[in-house]
């Protein structure tokens, strides 16, 4: 470097930053408020025809009426029961089968092709079959939701087990831990993050299938309510039902988040 000339000095430009997640709390609600305000304004001025979208205030009124008439819980209760029963069955069976696939080569060899064949089948297409197998009442609905949440849970569970650091397992073996202890104290806790993130997906699929399950032989239920409103082209009731389903999804997501926070506190 020359020293006799006047040296130019300037600050080194900043090139880092970005690509990280920072929670910005108020933006989410703000987007919702703006969207709803825009819709309200559009539908009340006639800029958006009431055949395209319902008025948000009308939807809100429908929800209030639904609540006041007591019909809300009449619809919500059977739906929640179906969702709960179906997904509990599907998820417990899914975790069990996923564990077996993850732990035993023989089961893996036998069950993996079956799961792979089952996964892409649109479960809704099987609903008529389930009605014959399990009856038009609750049985077929549980079965549909259970099967729908089963396959993604299986895949998430065995993938999570495959991803457990083999070094930990070798450590356990080197200290003479029993097979059961290795599974219970090393494999399962190590697979838990993967199993829980699979839970998010399975539960979302359960909600989708809930609506489908109520297509046949259900007089009450959020899905039945939405489908009926849709066939009558009653947009306000349709959107009221959709709103309830969304809230359900948000609540379930939050619930899994709490579960993760409690069970996986060691990660952060």
């Amino acid at each position: 470097m020359s020293t006799n000339k006047q040296q130019v000095s300037k600050e080194v430009p900043f090139r880092g930053g970005g690509f990280t997640h920072k929670p910005i709390i108020f933006v989410g609600p703000l987007v919702f408020v703006c969207l709803i305000a825009l819709l309200e304004w559009g539908t009340s001025t006639g800029w958006i025809s009431d055949l395209t979208l319902p008025r948000p205030s009308g939807v809100a009124q429908t929800l209030v009426d639904l609540y006041n008439s007591g019909l809300l819980f009449k619809h919500l209760l059977p739906s929640l029961t179906r969702l709960l029963m179906g997904s509990i069955m599907g998820i417990t069976a899914g975790i069990a089968v996923g564990l077996l696939i993850g732990l035993f080569n023989l089961v893996r060899a036998g069950a993996l092709p079956v799961v792979a064949a089952l996964f892409p089948v649109p479960k809704i297409a099987l609903l008529p079959l389930f009605v014959i197998w399990f009856g038009i009442d609750e049985g077929s609905k549980y079965a549909l939701i259970a099967l729908g949440s089963f396959t993604p849970t299986v895949v998430a569970t065995y993938a999570a087990i495959d991803n457990v650091d083999r070094g930990y397992i070798r450590m356990g073996q080197s200290f003479g831990l029993s097979w059961v202890s290795i599974v219970r104290k090393i494999v399962l806790p190590g697979a838990l993050p993967g199993i829980l993130s699979g839970l998010r997906i399975s539960l979302a699929i359960s909600i989708i299938l809930l609506v489908a399950a109520e297509m046949l032989g259900a007089s009450y239920g959020i899905g039945a309510y939405v489908l009926e409103a849709g066939s009558l082209y009653d947009l306000e009731r349709l959107f009221a039902g959709v709103f309830i389903l969304s809230v359900l999804g948000v609540i379930i997501n939050w619930f899994v988040g709490v579960l993760e926070h409690r069970l996986l506190s060691w990660r952060t």
Partner: protein, 256 residues
């Protein structure tokens, strides 16, 4: 308890990793294994501890491990292998729970071992809160808690910075002074080998065979005062290994 390694050879599918290894690991001795990268040191250690079966030959225990030994052949891993979801205390209790020891006794073992490794105040810390050196000390504490007859260490200090590994090496020396543990210590660091080894086994490049065994008679705790003698040993070892390392490098170039 002594370990005899009788004529062990090992291969992975079509690669010969080890050939005709004969070695004795005698009580109260630290045997260091050095050799070029990929020559099969880690493999040999896994064979010694029974984590893998040799293709031929066997490892035999001569004499019984001490009565109170819970896990006679105990590893200390390069990457520590501490479960991130268990605290320091629980990581140690993990390896004691399976051996039919009473809860109270487990607690006294852990308290004692944490005390000996100066970790008492970290009993409830989670692994992610600890520095690398601390993690390895926890792993050492865990290994000591099962009262091993032979410690099998695979490059236990190589994931640490040089100051930390220097300190831990001093810890190991004073630990050996007190407890005269038996160990097989894999390293690629020759200065570690001459500081800790009673016997230094030099392996050739793959297929790994024993090319020379160097013994050092200076007691461990006096080695700091004999740096010239150790330097000579280290230079000698380096000369043995350099040829091998160069040849191993050439081999890689030919492969590419």
């Amino acid at each position: 308890m002594n370990l005899h390694i009788n004529n062990i050879s090992h291969r992975y599918s079509d690669v010969n990793v080890l050939e005709n290894i004969n070695l004795e690991i005698n009580q109260h001795q630290i045997v260091c294994l050095v050799g070029p990268s990929g020559c099969g040191k880690s493999t040999l250690l896994r064979l010694i501890g029974g984590l893998e079966k040799p293709s031929s030959g066997q490892v035999t225990q001569i004499g019984n491990p001490p009565e109170n030994s819970i896990n006679p052949l105990t590893y200390i891993f390069q990457d520590f292998a501490l479960l991130p979801w268990r605290s320091v205390y629980d990581n140690i209790s993990l390896v004691l729970e399976d051996h039919g020891i009473a809860k109270k006794e487990i607690k006294s073992i852990i308290d004692d071992v944490l005390e000996r490794t100066k970790l008492s105040e970290f009993a409830n810390a989670m692994p992610k809160q600890l520095s690398g050196g601390m993690k390895q000390r926890v792993a050492i504490a865990r290994a000591l808690s099962v009262r091993p007859a032979v410690l099998l260490m695979d490059e236990p200090l190589s994931a640490l910075d040089s100051q930390t590994s220097e300190l831990l090496m001093d810890d190991l020396v004073s630990l050996w002074d007190r407890e005269k543990f038996t160990a097989c210590y894999v390293t690629h660091n020759l200065s570690e080998a001459v500081r800790l080894g009673h016997k230094i086994v030099v392996l050739s490049r793959r297929p790994g065979t024993i090319s020379e065994v160097v013994t050092i008679d200076i007691p461990l705790n006096e080695r700091k005062n004999h740096s010239e003698a150790l330097d000579i040993k280290q230079k000698y070892l380096w000369n043995l290994m350099r040829e091998e390392a160069l040849l191993a490098d050439k081999e890689l170039i030919n492969v590419n």
